[in-house]
Symmetry: C2
Subunit: 324 residues, 2 copies
């Protein structure tokens, strides 16, 4: 049997998503099983069953040339160790490579952080596929990110790189979940964005529509609700996205002044607000960049959607295999 | 004659500094000739005469295995072209490699930006010599910087990387020479720092000593005057350095969250204020960094002083030679 397939896996606190790709990185099949946050072995057995079903049920996965695992948390790509990972308490401190290898015997395993997985997916198969120097900012509940320099993921000395969400943009800004104030995440992550919407509603600076939406949705208020209101012309909701966009632009200006990449990709659920965030962002970026040649850096939306990290993990597995 | 010497050159608006190093990077001799800002050829002839004298006067520099030139401005290390360089108007747009080669025949030429030269010098021979991932921030009249990832200089797609001085730390901060507000440079470059001292003096928030110093020194006020006052216990002068240090810390926090380097080196004339800046800086850095493992990043003073860029240029020439 020819080993020419790659399994890419993206593990979060609730689901283990997977894709099987061919050697060119194209997705052949995909699926998801529930994560067991207490046990990596239970989760991997569920994954193996689902992948086995998708590939025709042969034992020991004779087609798989490699497995890439993107995982939430601080991932040591060299040792395979998972560091802090708040949503996977039972996985913390485990050696991912070893634990996965006990279920997927004989398949070479590569591990990475989940945002780096998504960045690598966009780099190989998505919005950054013609780049050498690339930055991604993922606007989710929090804000994460990743950096590729000269075609390689920058993981940092302690595997702590890419924490773009905690770039301090104003010491006196709104509080952030990390304990600081004025981090990018406090404006552009959904937690921060919704907090600002609730404050605008209660502080009476919002018009009636926003206040009514906040009251009606209560704890289930989400950024899509808010984007719908803004798309309908609501001034207060629009301004909350615009400020998120301007803060995103300030962060991008800072990153481009530091690294001068080919392109910046914006992904994550909040990015679905599209031009509500991206237009004000793109308007301020060029004026913040010193080197004239670097000013017109394209700021683009991610292309791969929720499977980005799984696709990227499959690509990482393939590249590791190739470079062996 | 054995080719085992390297000539490292650092060209600024007023002087062309040079070092001759052995193949291990140790400085054998050094010197300086005046820059002709209108003509690279005139400047290079002056340099050749001085270097020829230092090396014993043989024509065509038979001992030189390579020449590295660090130059103020945007330097395309691939083509050798010098982009914008406000202090070298007659050099702008010239091909440095070609022009230098016409004077230093048969000597291979490598070119880099001056701050990248200084960073590379510290990386090979100074405060970063045991690092793989390194960031330098040079606090001069303005604030520049550079990044090394995995042992390689990060120059950026358009050779515009390293502009750390224009990291926006507060949209409503003091004005910066670049036209923005609240850039790191507006607090921690000497122009910004002295502007803040003059403002403190005239706005009556300073005590008598600072006001008297500003009045006495007028246009010739410099950061050493101010540091002297602060070292003597003056509260207003101390606070100006402390705020520069806290803003430097905010910038370092942002960079470490993004890149997680081994170490951050602070250089440039303003860094001579030492603990007046570094103590408040080091106090706030750990609290700004998300990844626990990255929090104790050492923030250290540059070791090589004014010859750093020339030493780094010599090292770059050597490495280019080796990797050919």
């Amino acid at each position: 049997m020819k080993k020419d397939l790659y399994l890419g896996v993206d593990t979060g606190g609730t689901g283990v998503k997977f894709v099987v790709t061919d050697s060119g990185g194209s997705v052949i099949t995909s699926g998801e099983v529930p994560t067991d946050p207490a046990s990596i072995t239970v989760s991997m057995r569920r994954l193996a069953t689902a992948v086995g079903g998708a590939l025709g049920g042969e034992p020991d996965f004779p087609d798989l040339a490699g497995l890439g695992m993107a995982c939430a948390g601080i991932v040591n790509s060299v040792t395979g160790q998972l560091g802090r990972s708040p949503n996977l308490p039972g996985w913390q401190g485990r050696n991912l490579t070893g634990d996965i290898g006990r279920v997927f015997r004989d398949v070479p395993v590569t591990v990475a952080n989940d945002v780096n997985g998504a960045l690598y997916g966009e780099f190989r198969q998505g919005a950054g596929r013609d780049c050498r120097n690339l930055v991604m900012i993922a606007l989710g509940t929090g804000v994460g990110g990743g950096v590729i320099i000269d075609g390689k993921l920058v993981v940092g000395t302690h595997f702590g790189a890419g924490e773009i969400g905690h770039m301090s943009l104003d010491r006196d800004g709104p509080p952030c979940t990390c304990g600081s104030r004025g981090c990018l995440e406090a404006w552009a992550g959904s937690t921060g964005l919704l907090r600002r919407a609730r404050e605008a509603a209660t502080q009476g600076t919002a018009n009636d529509e926003l206040a009514r939406l906040v009251a009606r949705r209560g704890e289930s208020l989400n950024t899509l609700d808010l984007a719908g209101l803004a798309a309908g012309g609501d001034v207060a909701a629009t301004e909350i996205f615009a400020e998120a966009g301007r803060r995103l632009g300030q962060a991008i200006g800072n990153i481009v002044n530091l690294l001068d990449p080919d392109r910046v990709i914006v992904g994550g659920g909040v990015a679905q607000a599209g031009d509500l965030i991206l237009k004000p962002c793109r308007e301020i970026v060029p004026g913040l960049i010193l080197a004239e040649e670097a000013r017109n850096v394209p700021v683009v939306i991610a292309e791969l959607g929720p499977l980005a990290a799984a696709v990227g993990a499959a690509c990482l597995a393939r590249e590791m295999e190739i470079s062996r």
